[in-house]
Each structure stands twice: as C-alpha cells, then as structure tokens.
Symmetry: C2
Subunit: 342 residues, 2 copies
C-alpha cells in the first residue's frame, strides 16, 4: 500500500503532516508514504524523527496553494503545487491513494483535473465523519458539489453506504436524507425528489428523512444532503460543539479555578471527541481514484487516521463496488423501476 | 398592549404557558394577555397561581393541533384549534400580537391564512435568535419558506435588519449571507444571486458572505439564508451545543462525581446559555401582524421572553418600518439600481 501525502497542506504543515505519516508507518504493515512538498523542509522533519528510510519517499514540489487561495485560479497559476503533484501521482497509478489537509476546493478541483469520475457517477461528493452521542456518522456531501440534483443525492446514498460498510465497518448502515421534518412531503424540492429516488432502492437500509438534530443524536449512520447544506452543517457542528465546551471551560476556570484544575485531565479527554481535527478525514466519493481530505487544522493523529482511512478504502476496493452499483448507470425512477440514465 | 397566547402550544402546555404569561404580566406594565385553549385547564392553572384577573382573558378553544401533526391538513380538520383562534384574533386587530410555542408549520400556515403579507413583501421569514460566544445573533429564515429565491433573501435582510435595530437594540447590525466561503463567487446559485441584490443596498451594513462556524463566533449580528438551510442550522446548533455539554457532564459525573457535584451550580448557570428553550422566540417577518414563535420545549421563562419580544415588535411599529422600506415594492437589481418589482 503506497500513499501520496501532501506535506504542505494544512495549518500545521509540514511538521504535523510528516509526523502523521511516521505514526501511520509505525502502525500499518506494508505501508509506504510519498511525501510531496519542499524537499529540504520535509527532509529536516524526517531527520528530526526516526524515519524508516526504505518506506518514505520525497517528491519535491516548489509551489504551495494557501488555505484561503481561490482554488481553480491557484491551480492554474501554480501547476507544480503539492496538491496537483499528489493528484497526478494518484491518477497515474503510482500510488494507491492520496491524502491532503490542504485547501479543500483546490484538492477537489485537482483530483477532478487529474482523473475522471468513476463510470456511471454523475457528481463526486465529500463524505465527512461527525461525532454523535453514540459514536460517529457519515455526512455526504459536505461541499464538493454546490448544484446538487436529486440523482446526485441518490448516488451519494449508494456510495456513502459502501463507504460506511467497507471502510467504517457498519453492518447495515442506516441511511437518512437530511431534511426539515420526517414526512416525505417535508423539505425543499431537492429533498422531496431525492426521497422518491432513494426510497425504492432495496439495497439501501433507508430510514427516511431526518432533521438537523438527528445528526448529533446518531439517529442514522449516514446523512445525505446537498453540498451547500452539508458544508454549513459541518462548520456549524464544529464551531458549536467545541465552542460550547470552551465557553463552559472559561466560565468554570473563572468561577472555580482550583476545582477546574482538578477536573482538567478528564476534561481534555472528553473534549477530544469534539475536536474535529482528530477525525480521519473525508473521502471524495465518485472519482476514479482514492482521495481523503483531512481537516485543515489536522495534527499528526488526524493525518495518521486519514492515511488509514485512505488505505482501507483502497484495500477494500470500494471504487470497484461503487462501479458495480452505479457503473451500469442504472438510475431508479420515482416509480421504483430501474432505468438506464442518459 | 394586548397579546394573544396559544395556551395549548408546546410540549409543556398549558402549565408553563400560563406561568410564562403571568411572569410577563408581572414585568410589563400595561400588558394584557388573552389565553386561548381549554378553558377549564387554563382556569385551573390561573387559580393555582396568583393571576391578576383584570389583565387576563380566556378564549375557549376545544381543538388542539399536536406538535407533530401535518400542519395544513390539521388546520383544515381542526378549524377551531387554538392556533387558528389566535391567528384570527391577531388578524381582526383584537390583539396587538400573537405568541405560540406550538406546531411551527401550523402557526405559519394559520397566520398566512388569517392575514395577508405586508405590502411589497414576497415571502415571510422566521427570524430566530441563536447564542454566540459574544452574545446573540439573528438567523432568518429558519423554515417559513422552503423555496427561497434571491429576492426573498434580499427582503429577509431588510426585515431582519429592522428587527435587529428596533427589537434587539443593535445600533448598526452587521448583516451577512450564510455561505460556504467569504468570496462572492462561493456558494450556490441562490446565495450568489442574493449577494448581488444585497451588496448594493446602502441602508444595510452588509459584511458579505460568512460560513457556518461564523454564527457561533458571532462574526455578524444577522445571518440571512434560505429556510431549508436555516432550519437545519437551527436544529444542528441546538443539538450540538447542548449535546456536547451533556456528554461532558456524563463523563465527568462518572469519572469524578464528587468534584462534579461541587461544580454543578456553576455548570447549570453556564449551560443555560445553550438552552434554546429559554430564548425569546422567532418573529415571523413580513406578515401584516405580529407573531412570535417560541421553542416547542419552552418553559415559563421562554414564553415570558417571547411575549416581551412580541410586545417590543408591536410597540416599535416594526411592520410600519418594513412597509416603508419594502412597501413601495422597490427591488434593487444586480447592478445596484432600484426598480419597481413586478
């Protein structure tokens, strides 16, 4: 298993990215990592650690796309950037998967530029993992596609179901549409039409429409939504969970500093659950390759987790399974029959 | 000031609703409340408390719409329900404002059935208050309108600006569009087109596009979005903030029960900030009357706060101000000129 890692992507690159790679190498047998970016800086980080030279390769890249740069324009201006290098290595089959904590838009655009979508897939979707009170759930799409159509949501449901089964280990993942009420008549036109496509799909354990609060309550294992809503949900979730805990912490530290100091170690452990930067990243479903996007604030743990997700995705041939389900380009119609899509 | 209160609406009706009314009566001089619902039950609650008989009236209603009933069908089946009675009283001018913690869809439908929209207003919008790390902000629309158009968002911005100024006391409210990035080119078609309508409006302190996490960070005082996204955001925010605190509480209680018991009183106080059931409710902007929707889980405090919001809204003639701004039916075009809308 050989994975390309964008060593320059993310707020804490390259140090935490390199450390994450080394952590993954220690844990995953047979893993090799290709670190892409400023060779001197990467080499310095490797030298500082105890890197297994045989299993690490550096591919130099002298351009970096910043976290806030406009994705498409930057890719045009910086064709030799680490993200594009990574995408090309994946497209050429020189690696089994690619991982980056860099500029999300640039990553998605680069992957699409370097490789096609899988046969039968209309639009790709980013599938992130969010914490619930019971464990974790998957939300797809969280921002790859700003013009979601019902047939895209149907395909996200099929792809995220396979992701949940074959990467996250769910036996029979409960798939829900994110809406504003439980009834199929609730929601906007997109969700109502998507419901009619997803509901007849007998391979899916579709539990119907769920609402915003059901994500945290863990009422489904997979939540399907358009990329605009999903992106807003992702960012709201992140800020609100961590923010509520931080406000509480500040208030307790002011009110009862000595007591809080005693509680602090337990606090840290429990708060980590709401630190999205530790989660294993979001696979871009539907492209003809494996790419996992890690959180921009990723530290070594998150990067190592992202590498493992990418490795499982590649190892378990999730893309072959997606092609089996969607490659014949079958789209259910609202009546439940299967038809060849145009 | 005379306010109609749906005594049967909400998970804790009628007791907490009646108690909320009494709390408001104690605090607001010149306030009168019309309690609508089961006369015997309301009278029993009033008798149990020390109600100022002169300022409380009961209007009997023998039908109640449950929290989860389909709104429009229920209104048709139960024409004498408390929500419809309340809406009619407001439409007939027998009260200055109406307040309910009941079925949101039924409330919105009943208000629309009983009264027209304000002159020039194309669609109404629900404007909720959410906590931020700095205080509070307004989010509009959170679910009145599932088919948002750019011109609706423009009008929400104008109306929510007036709400923020004249009810919530903001001097020069910062208005933002909820999107997935700061650049005007980011987002879906709805947001991009709305940006072009809102940006040239010189009366608004428009700060541009903001993202999901900026709500909790308090980066604007007013966030404008379509009703589908807004409703999901509202429910995600609510579940995630309270949920994170509850998980932490459980873990601390298990790990260090004695220490947590000492902290508990401070915990309760700080956690109340994330209890959305205590917030003062969401005015329905754009209708020819005043209606405030309180949280379904509202207790007496939330109801009393909702009554106060409704009273300030009526007292400060916010609807006249909305008509002044939108009544001439001026819609800015993308180029910034003002035009009569069709």
């Amino acid at each position: 298993m050989r994975i390309a890692l964008d060593a320059m992507g993310g707020d804490r690159a390259p140090r935490e990215i390199v450390r994450g790679a080394l952590a993954a190498l220690r844990e995953v047998r047979g893993l090799e990592v290709v670190l892409i970016g400023d060779e001197a800086r990467i080499a310095a980080e490797l030298a500082a650690a105890d890197a297994p030279a045989r299993r690490v390769q550096i591919v130099h890249s002298d351009q970096v796309i910043g976290m806030d740069e406009p994705p498409v324009a930057s890719l045009r201006r910086k064709p030799r950037c680490s993200i594009m290098r990574m995408a090309r290595l994946a497209a050429e089959g020189q690696v089994d998967a690619a991982v980056s904590a860099g500029n999300t838009g640039a990553c998605v655009a680069a992957m699409h530029k370097a490789m096609r979508r899988l046969e039968g897939v209309i639009r790709s979707g980013l599938a992130v993992t969010l914490p619930t009170r019971r464990g974790e759930c998957i939300v797809c799409d969280v921002g790859a596609n700003m013009a979601a159509r019902p047939e895209h949501l149907y395909q996200y449901a099929v792809m995220a179901d396979l992701l949940a089964r074959h990467v996250h280990g769910f036996q029979k993942p409960r798939i829900a549409l994110l809406s504003v009420g439980h009834e199929p008549t609730k929601g906007n036109v997109l969700v109502k039409d998507a419901y009619r496509l997803i509901e007849p799909a007998t391979t899916l354990n579709f539990v119907g429409n769920l609402e915003g609060h059901d994500i945290f309550l863990g009422e489904a294992d997979v939540f399907i939504c358009g990329g605009f809503v999903g992106n807003v949900v992702l960012k709201v979730t992140e800020a609100t969970g961590q923010g509520a805990l931080r406000l509480m912490q500040t208030q307790l530290q002011q009110a009862v500093p000595a007591l809080f100091a005693e509680i602090a170690p337990h606090w840290e452990r429990a708060a980590a659950k709401h630190d999205y930067a530790t989660y294993g990243g979001a696979p871009l479903l539907g492209i003809n390759g494996v790419f996992v996007k890690c959180h921009g604030a990723s530290g070594a743990l998150a990067i190592s987790n992202g590498i493992k997700v990418a490795a499982r995705f590649a190892e378990n041939h999730v893309n072959d399974l997606i092609t089996e389900c969607l490659g014949s380009a079958r789209m259910p119609t609202a009546g439940g029959r299967l038809e060849r899509s145009s």
